[in-house]
């Protein structure tokens, strides 16, 4: 499935138990901040920001929208919590940056920074979101796609 994405568009991949949201990075860079270090993540024009939540419906889409808006439009850094931090179970969205994202349901949220995996619900396990010229190519997804403006 190919999903064309304008610069100001977000696409929601809506499942029955979880939701993904996708925007293009537009070649921007993003800060990844730990308690002791700062790393700059550089992207290509067609790379993607993918956010995932374990919720569905309007509330889920609004949350993902805000997450992606904060990161891409407002330059909010990705603040890294150490493994086992007590806030981890309460975090509502996870985010992937790059040319490829694979959804896996059996990983601990946020513990795979070196890989192209992102945690999601079991229903979305195996979904792949790949960068493509002017949009995204999505594999192994059979749900509903909703697009809206990211502004």
């Amino acid at each position: 499935m190919n999903i064309p994405l304008e610069d100001d568009e977000v696409a929601y991949l809506c499942g029955r138990t979880g939701t993904l949201a996708v925007v293009r990075t537009l070649g921007q860079f993003f800060y990844l901040d730990t308690d002791s270090d700062e790393i700059v993540i550089f992207t290509d024009d067609d790379d993607l920001l993918v956010a995932s939540t374990f919720e569905v419906g309007e509330r889920a889409r609004r949350g993902l929208f805000c997450t992606l808006y904060l990161i891409r439009e407002m330059g909010s850094p990705l603040i890294v919590l150490p493994k086992g931090h007590p806030a981890s179970p309460r975090l509502k969205t996870v985010v992937s940056v790059g040319e490829k994202t694979r959804i896996k349901c059996d990983i601990q949220a946020g513990t795979h920074p070196e890989q192209d995996v992102l945690c999601g619900t079991g229903e979305l396990d195996g979904v792949e979101v790949l960068s493509a010229p002017g949009g995204a190519e999505v594999k192994n997804f059979a749900g509903v796609v909703i697009k809206e403006k990211l502004h």
Binding site: I39, T43, L78, V80, S88, L91, V97
Partner: protein, 51 residues
Amino acid sequence: MCTVGGGPDIGDVESIAPKGYICQDCGNKFKGMGRRPRCPSCQSRNVKPTE
């Protein structure tokens, strides 16, 4: 990469392998990942690896 918007949770940051860079225009030193590095301070692409 699996991070969380607002409060990203990456437990194994040591496994990330960023490169060190220095900007040839403004002298800014930074760590980065990706194919097209540029200085996050002055936006210049005139950067070189430091290692």
